[in-house]
Amino acid sequence: MQSTSRHSYRLSRKKSEILVGYGFVSIPMALFLFLSVGIFFYAIYISTYDWGLIGPTESVGLDNYRRALSDPIFLKAIRNSLKYALLVVPIQSALGLFLALLVNSKIKGSKFFRSAFYFPSIASSAAITTLFIFLMAPDGVFNGMLKFFGVDVSNLFNQGAWLSDSRTALYSIIGLNAWTTSGTMMLFYLANLQTVDSQYREAAITDGASRRQVFWYITMPLLKPAHFFVVTTGMIGALQLYDQAILAGGADGSPDYSLMTMVLYIYNACFRKFEFGYASAIGVILFVIIFSLTILQKFIFGSSAWRGEN
């Protein structure tokens, strides 16, 4: 008698667990299926249509993709985005690691320095880019500082017009974002450094390893999870460059499309030319690039980094 009641109690317990489980995930899963999965396939569907303000007119197959890959401005946008990502990711990662190692050592005021270094990462990109444009203006503070150190700005190849010269605009934005993002990267490295047991380093030092050897053969390999995380999130973020480009260069990525990025190009196709089918095709291309680079990084770093094991 007693055992049956316990049995039925367990059964009802199992049932209620299933019910509560479905209840808890129902709204979140509905939202995911609607806002991400459904939207993903809808994007691919739209990309195969000639789709203007009045909606879809005719199915065009892969024409939108062909058109994108033969448009010199889109190719320029891809080049800009890739150039930006390939330069900014190593710089911000290395700077983040360097800052993490600096503030991780037992020093006075390490908490203050940690906060100071993270500071540029918390402000909005709109605020910080606007400030940057002001500081980098031809008669702004940055050129004033160069002058103070004896650099005659008017003799420079761009006359100190960092953001309005097509040769320096993208590099200036790289400098800006390396500066703002390195604080976040520092935090990722710090979190990883705190899980690394110091006994490995101490053992190596006892065995007579030099500081340099300890860094390259002990610390760096132990930071693999952070390397993977920093490079992957950094790359995804870099390929989505939009805020800084539109703030500094307007919707055209001026001067001379030097700040035209893939996302800015989507924005233009969508809201200035109202070519939604074409814009959607560019979105799919961007997704394919981001997706393949992430998979590539997974192979480079090995599957252990993917799971976050040392």
Binding site: F24, L33, L102, P120, S124, F132, L247, F287
Partner: protein
């Protein structure tokens, strides 16, 4: 450490802190400068003035108060949505057994791979069909729908629930608590640090976001602070003090939030992300 090394060490630390902090001090300084002093290199203005603040609080349309209220309203609603959905789904995926659970969780992981820029066109088309792209109050619903849920937050929440020891629940189970009581009485109170992390990171992300507001929000009365900065930067062109006043005023709340919630950002979010 030798003395020379120590000096080198500290000079590097101080040098980089100067690089990170001075630009912000400069924005404060510029916001209280009269226009003829803007390009002078003095940090402390000769004739400080609050004119720029009077401009952003009074003359511009929409004024700072409107931008601030919109940013705050949107960020708070999105924080609440993210907390509710992440807690519910995170708990179910971490602790409850039901058929299809792992398949559904795999879908959540997949959602992390869909970038916002791919969502832009279809999302916009959908919002137009739902008649949410308008200048009325339902326009806010468009931004709430776009930002309703975050796969990364569900993932973070699940990982955290997995680390809470099962023994905590066992005692309550013997007392006859069902899955719902276990969730509300045992698991949620123990997850306070990660809830705080999600709240802070979501607030910061939504407060700072420029991409979706610039696409979805139609009426100037709905603009958020970053969107307002983008618009006024075009309008004012080189009248820097009011723009810098907006930069300063929009950064202060985030700075306060960060100072107050620093430990949550550093300790929980990052260790669980790295351990992922």
């Amino acid at each position: 450490m030798t003395k020379v090394r120590k000096y080198m060490f500290y000079s590097m630390l101080i040098f980089y802190s100067v690089i990170t902090v001075i630009p912000f001090i400069w924005s404060v300084s510029t916001s209280i400068k009269p226009s003829d002093e803007v390009y002078q290199s003095n940090l402390i203005p000769d004739n400080p003035t609050a004119k720029a603040y009077a401009t952003v609080f009074g003359k511009i349309q929409p004024n700072f108060q409107t931008l601030f209220a919109n940013s705050l309203f949107i960020a708070c609603v999105v924080v609440v949505l993210h907390l509710i959905f992440a807690a519910l789904a995170g708990y179910a995926f971490a602790r409850l057994r039901f058929p299809g659970r792992d398949a559904l969780f795999f879908v959540v992981l997949g959602c992390m791979m869909v970038p916002d820029q791919l969502r832009l066109v279809p999302m916009y088309q959908l919002l137009v069909k739902m008649e949410l792209i308008n200048t009325g109050p339902t326009n806010y619903l468009a931004i709430f729908l776009v930002k309703a849920i975050s796969a990364a937050d569900v993932f973070l929440m699940r990982q955290y629930f997995l680390t809470i020891p099962k023994e905590l629940e066992d005692a309550a189970k013997i007392d006859g608590a069902g899955p719902f009581q276990l969730f509300s009485k045992i698991m949620l109170p123990n997850a306070a640090p990660v809830l705080a992390t999600i709240a802070i990171m979501t607030f910061q992300g939504t407060w700072n976001d420029l991409f979706w507001p610039s696409i979805v929000l139609q009426s100037p009365n709905h603009w958020t602070l970053p969107f307002g900065i983008l618009q006024f930067k075009g309008q004012f062109s080189t009248d820097w003090p009011p723009i810098m006043a907006l930069v300063v005023l929009s950064t202060i709340p985030i700075l306060a939030l960060y100072t107050f919630g620093q430990r949550y950002i550093i300790n929980v979010q990052l260790s669980s992300s790295v351990k992922g």
